[in-house]
Amino acid sequence: MGPYIIRRILYMIVVLLFVIAITFLIFFILPTADPAALRAGRSPTPETLKAIREQLGLNHSLPEQFWLYVKGLVLHFDFGNSFINDQDVRGLIFDRLPNTLFLITGAAILWFTFGVLIGTISAVKTGTFLDRATMTTALVAISAPVYWLGLVALYLFASDIGRFPILPGNGAYQDAHGFFAKIPTLILPWIVLASAFAAIYARLTRSNLIEVMSEDYVRTARAKGLTERRVVIRHGLRAAITPVVTILGLDLGILVGGAILTESVFGIPGVGRLAYDAIQRGDLATIQGTTLFLAFAVVFMNLLVDILYAFLDPRVRY
């Protein structure tokens, strides 16, 4: 397993270098605003612009800039400074990361539990009204865009603007202080973020489980005289859930990089919100930093999932 992990980490580094290179190139090819001009304020003198260029390292050639960026990243874990307010990007990301983690952890628990539960019931009751009803609902949940669902949720339930003002709405997260005070403010975001995922997981669990239930080893389990509940859970679900866990890892990787829409709709200052604001302001270093952070999260979760797989499926050996 050791050599495998080392190989995978080397591979991870290559992927990340590619991501850095591509984002770097995109910003130079695309006609974005001149960062120095953005920084300098109204009608700057050429001298000021030159000084800012030097300060930001924009006077170097493209390969040189790339080299400096990678060097800073590797040696000091330095993502550079924001062009807008000169804060260091690493600090910006890590300040916001706990909020994102809080949001996605709760949502993930919700969607995994309900997704697997609904999928299992649906699979066991294949073809019944219950199965059709849940799967149709799931399709609706998958098709509904998060920002739309988020706005509908706010319109219906937010304590300030809702028709049934029962739950804290937009901005409540930032106003609440302390872990427990923040939990109620996340209920709506959790549900909104989790619903589409829960629907996907339910469908995935259902189709996997239906397939597994026709396997020979499930027939063996029945031939042993086990109760149907035990056959479904211990023998069916145990095998059907491994691919679902894989998907969970990948989804979490993507979301750690920012649940942009949910964070925006509910005013949660997470990594996604940071990226969103940076894009709006043309804040190159921050965009680069958040993109890189997202790529890192995805690749890392990928590795984690593959390692986890060896524990979930004893046949897998690296």
Binding site: D216, Y217, R219, T220, A221, A223, K224, G225, R234, A239
Partner: protein, 371 residues
């Protein structure tokens, strides 16, 4: 009273394409310590019959009728929990493919322990001891160490031994083996058959052995039932099946077995055609589209399983064939002498409209049921 008595068992499945007549009235019985071979091609209904005995074909679209008496109790009317109590305890089953039949994610020790604890209130450690004991009995070396292994860490033959151990762990009275050797090498096949035979002798287990290969069962069975299109077409003790088979389908099966005692250039004679659809069965004798000796009357009259004319072995040899007994015996003699079905047909006169009166006698069916 026989341990297992199956009487006029019918299993039909309603599907979108029509009603699949998987079993169309089969009757057989097995005593303790006896081995019955059920032989037939894929789709002949042999697996459905055993799964029905286990209560594993119960589904919304299944229409099951007849009787399955186990120890005098009708399993078809037993509740699901009664069936669960029997499954894996008094009635156990081993399956064709030992790799896919064991759960890939659990250690075999855990799978065996689970089988014990489904029926016995026994602490895990004690159940594991029992697992080790049975694994030893079926010939797994170092069973104490091997209980911690996963199925994929065993060879095919060893996996099938694990399956047999799992089936035997609760000392079943009846063991149903569904193609237990099909997925295995020939040498391993022999070992597994030997093992099954030893278990029958040591534990007096009744065994139903399902296979498509007559050669495989020859060594271990007492009786053989040959199935075709959901029915038993010939039933006899093993010796009669091999020495004096009476059904053209049985002849076909026998002639398609490669044999070491015949010259190497002796061609194998396959049975022409394919098994019939169980939704749209041919009228008359189901085998008639593939039978080399078919006569027009056979396409109309449905033959019944009836004792052979000679009543060998007290009428235990039964056949469902419309050919006159005389012609049947002559045809088989020709085939044994090495004739192809075409040659045999030329040499033996089969009267155009003659049918075996025994085989169509409706009272024969009643006698069968009354037996």
């Amino acid at each position: 009273m026989a341990l297992l008595e199956v009487k006029d068992l019918r299993v039909h499945f309603e599907t979108e394409d029509g009603v699949v007549q998987a079993l169309d009235g089969i009757t057989y019985s097995v005593e303790a310590g006896q081995v019955l071979g059920i032989v037939g091609e894929s789709g002949s209904g042999k697996s459905v019959s055993s799964l029905t005995v286990m209560g594993l074909t119960r589904a919304k679209n299944a229409r099951i009728s007849g009787e399955v008496l186990f120890d005098g109790k009708n399993l078809l009317t037993a509740s699901e929990s009664e069936m669960r109590a029997l499954r894996g305890d008094d009635i156990a089953m081993i399956f064709q493919d030992p790799l896919s039949s064991l759960h890939p994610f659990y250690r075999i020790g855990d799978q065996l322990v689970e089988a014990v604890r489904a029926h016995r209130d026994m602490p895990k450690a004690k159940a594991l001891d029992r697992a080790v004991e049975v694994l030893g009995q079926v010939g797994i070396p170092e069973p104490r160490r091997r209980v911690d292994a996963y199925p994929h860490e065993f060879s095919g033959g060893m996996r099938q031994r694990v399956m047999i151990a799992m089936a035997l762990i609760n000392d079943p009275k009846l063991l149903i083996a569904d193609e237990p050797t099909t997925a295995l090498d020939v040498t391993v096949q022999a070992q597994i058959l030997e093992l099954i035979d030893r278990l029958r002798q040591e534990f007096d287990t009744a065994i139903v052995m399902i296979t498509h290969d007559l050669g495989v069962v020859a060594e271990v069975t007492d009786d053989i039932a040959v199935m075709y299109a959901g029915r038993i077409v010939e039933y006899a003790d093993t010796e009669s099946i091999f020495a004096a088979p009476e059904h053209p389908y049985t002849w076909g099966l026998l002639k398609s077995i490669p044999r070491l005692d015949l010259p190497r250039d002796e061609p194998l004679v396959p049975i022409q055609g394919r098994p019939p659809s169980l939704i749209l069965k041919p009228p008359g004798c189901s085998f008639h589209p593939r039978c080399p000796y078919v006569r027009d009357a056979h396409k109309r009259i449905d033959p019944q399983l009836a004792p052979t004319a000679e009543g060998v072995n007290g009428g235990r040899h039964k056949v469902a064939c419309l050919l006159p007994p005389q012609s049947r015996r002559q045809l088989w003699t020709e085939l044994v002498a090495g004739a192809t079905p075409e040659d045999a047909k030329e040499r033996v006169a089969v009267p155009e409209e003659a049918v075996d009166q025994e085989a169509v006698d409706p009272t024969a069916v009643d006698q069968e049921a009354a037996r």
